[in-house]
Amino acid sequence: MPMKKNELTLFNRLDVLFLSIPLVVAFISLSLPKVADNSYVRVYINGRLVYEQPLEKDSVWRIESGGKYMSTLVVDGEKRRVRLVDSDCPLKICERTGWVGSGGIIVCVPNRIVVKVEGKEKSKEIDIVTW
C-alpha cells in the first residue's frame, strides 16, 4: 500500500542523513594516516644532544667538539632533508649516507656523531631497517 505523504515512520530521509554524519566523520578520522609534521634535526655527540633545529629551516652548521672540527651539517628546509659533508673520518660513511628525511639517521662512528631527523612519521612507515 503506498505511504501517505504525512504518515509518520521511524526514519525518513533527513533522519538517515542526520545519522550518517557521525558515521562518515568517524570513518574518515579513523582511516586518515598520521601526517608527518614538526620534524626536528637533532645532532648528538657521544649520546649528548648538542644541536637541534626545525627541519623546515635551511642551515649549515659546523660540528665541532673540544675545538676539533669533525663534520658539517647541511639542512635543506625546502626538501625537508639533511646530510653531512666535509667529514674528517677515514671511510666517510656518514657523507656517503647522503640525504635523509623524516625518520632518517646519519651515523659517524669514528666521531661518535648521530644525526636524527625526529618527528611524527606516517603511521604506515617501517619500524626498523636491516642493512
Partner: protein
C-alpha cells in the same frame, strides 16, 4: 492515523533515533580508546650507544621494571662481550691473548662456546664463514673504524692468507690452540651473540618486556610491538639511499641480519673494496651485494648472513632452511633469490 497513535510513533522515533545516535558515538569513542590503549599506552624507552664499532639502538618497554634499568643491564652486557672478544685491543680481551700466544690456552666456557660455534658455521658453510681472518682484516685496515684503509699488495695478501683459515683453530673442550700464526676475529658472530645475551637479560628481568635491539642493522626482537603486533622491518636497497628498501619482513620474535657491500668500503680507481673478505682469495667477496638471514637467534643470523654474502646464491645457502634459517640474496647483477619459506615473513 489517530492522534494518540501518532504521538506514540513520534515518541518511539525519538527514543530509537537517540539510541542509535548514542551507539554510534560510543562505538566511535570505543574504537579511538582501543587504538590509543593498544598502541599508545606502552611507553618505549630508547637509547643509543656505540658498541662493536657501530651504533646500537636498544628499544624497550616493560610494565614490571623501569625500562632504563633493563637497558642499563643490556648495554653493560654487550660492552662486556665486546671488550672480552675484541681481537685487536689488549686489556681484558681473551681473543687478543689467544692471538698473541704460540701455545695452547685454557679459556673459559663462554669463549670456548663462541669459538666452537664459529667453527661449526665454518664447517657448515664450507669455509665461507671464517673466524680466523684476523691478519687479513688488519692488513686491509678493516679492524677499526679509525684505521686508515689501504689496498694491500698481492704478495701481502698471499702472506696473510697463509696465516689465516679456520682449519688452523683447534678446540679441545676448553683448550684452544691457534696454529700457523692465525688470528681470530669473531666480529662476524660476537655482535650477534652479545645482542642475544642482552635480549636474554631483558627477558629475565621481565619476561613480558617488548622491543628490539638494532646493532648496526642486525636486529633481535625482545617482544612484539605493543605486546601484540609484529615489527615491520625494511631490508635496505643495496644500491639505494639509506631510507630506500627492497622489501619488508614482519617479526614478532627472532632475529634478522644483513651483510652488504655498501657501508664499510673504500674506492681505488673506481673499484669498491668493502669489508667482507672472501677467505679463499683474501679480497672482498664479489658474488653478492646484499645477504639477509632470518633466524631464531642473532648469533646464527649474523654468521649465516656473512657466509651467504661470500657464497652468493648457492646450494649451501638454500640448505639454511634445514637449520631453521631463511635467506634472501641480491647478487652482483641485482637478481634477488629467496629460500623457500622466506616469503612467510613477508606477510603481516
Amino acid at each position: 492515523m489517530r492522534k494518540a497513535d501518532r504521538k506514540d510513533v513520534l515518541k518511539n522515533r525519538i527514543v530509537i533515533q537517540s539510541l542509535i545516535f548514542l551507539s554510534v558515538i560510543f562505538v566511535f569513542l570505543g574504537i579511538v580508546l582501543w587504538r590509543n590503549t593498544s598502541r599508545g599506552s606502552t611507553a618505549y624507552v630508547e637509547r643509543d650507544d656505540f658498541i662493536f664499532g657501530t651504533l646500537v639502538r636498544v628499544v624497550v618497554a616493560s610494565e614490571k621494571q623501569d625500562p632504563e634499568t633493563i637497558i642499563d643491564a643490556m648495554i653493560q652486557e654487550m660492552k662486556r662481550i665486546e671488550s672480552k672478544f675484541h681481537p685487536y685491543h689488549n686489556g681484558s680481551s681473551v681473543i687478543f691473548k689467544l692471538n698473541h700466544s704460540s701455545k695452547a690456552m685454557t679459556v673459559d666456557e663462554e669463549t670456548a662456546f663462541l669459538i666452537s660455534k664459529s667453527l661449526y658455521y665454518s664447517k657448515l658453510t664450507a669455509g665461507a664463514f671464517d673466524p680466523a681472518l684476523g691478519r687479513l682484516i688488519k692488513l686491509w685496515g678493516f679492524d677499526s673504524p679509525d684505521t686508515e684503509k689501504k689496498l694491500p699488495k698481492p704478495e701481502e695478501i698471499q702472506e696473510a692468507l697463509k696465516a689465516s683459515g679456520y682449519r688452523n683453530v683447534k678446540v679441545n673442550v676448553k683448550e684452544v690452540l691457534l696454529e700457523n700464526g692465525v688470528w681470530l676475529d669473531l666480529g662476524g658472530i660476537a655482535k650477534g651473540y652479545a645482542v642475544d645475551q642482552a635480549v636474554r637479560i631483558a627477558k629475565r628481568m621481565d619476561e613480558n618486556a617488548t622491543g628490539f635491539v638494532d646493532a648496526g642493522g642486525d636486529i633481535a626482537i625482545i617482544g612484539p610491538k605493543f605486546g601484540q603486533y609484529p615489527w615491520k622491518i625494511g631490508i635496505r636497497d643495496p644500491r639505494g639511499g639509506p631510507q630506500d628498501i627492497v622489501g619488508v619482513v614482519y617479526l614478532s620474535e627472532g632475529a634478522i641480519a644483513t651483510s652488504g657491500d655498501y657501508e664499510r668500503y673504500f674506492e681505488v680507481e673506481g673499484i669498491r673494496y668493502h669489508h667482507i673478505l672472501d677467505p679463499q682469495t683474501g679480497y672482498p667477496a664479489r658474488k653478492a651485494i646484499s645477504a639477509t638471514v632470518i633466524a631464531e637467534k642473532l648469533v646464527d643470523a649474523d654468521a649465516l648472513a656473512t657466509a651467504a654474502f661470500v657464497l652468493g646464491w648457492h646450494k649451501i645457502v638454500e640448505g639454511f632452511v634445514g637449520i631453521g634459517a631463511q635467506a634472501m640474496i641480491i647478487d652482483a647483477e641485482g637478481n634477488t633469490f629467496k629460500t623457500r619459506g622466506f616469503s612467510a615473513y613477508e606477510k603481516e
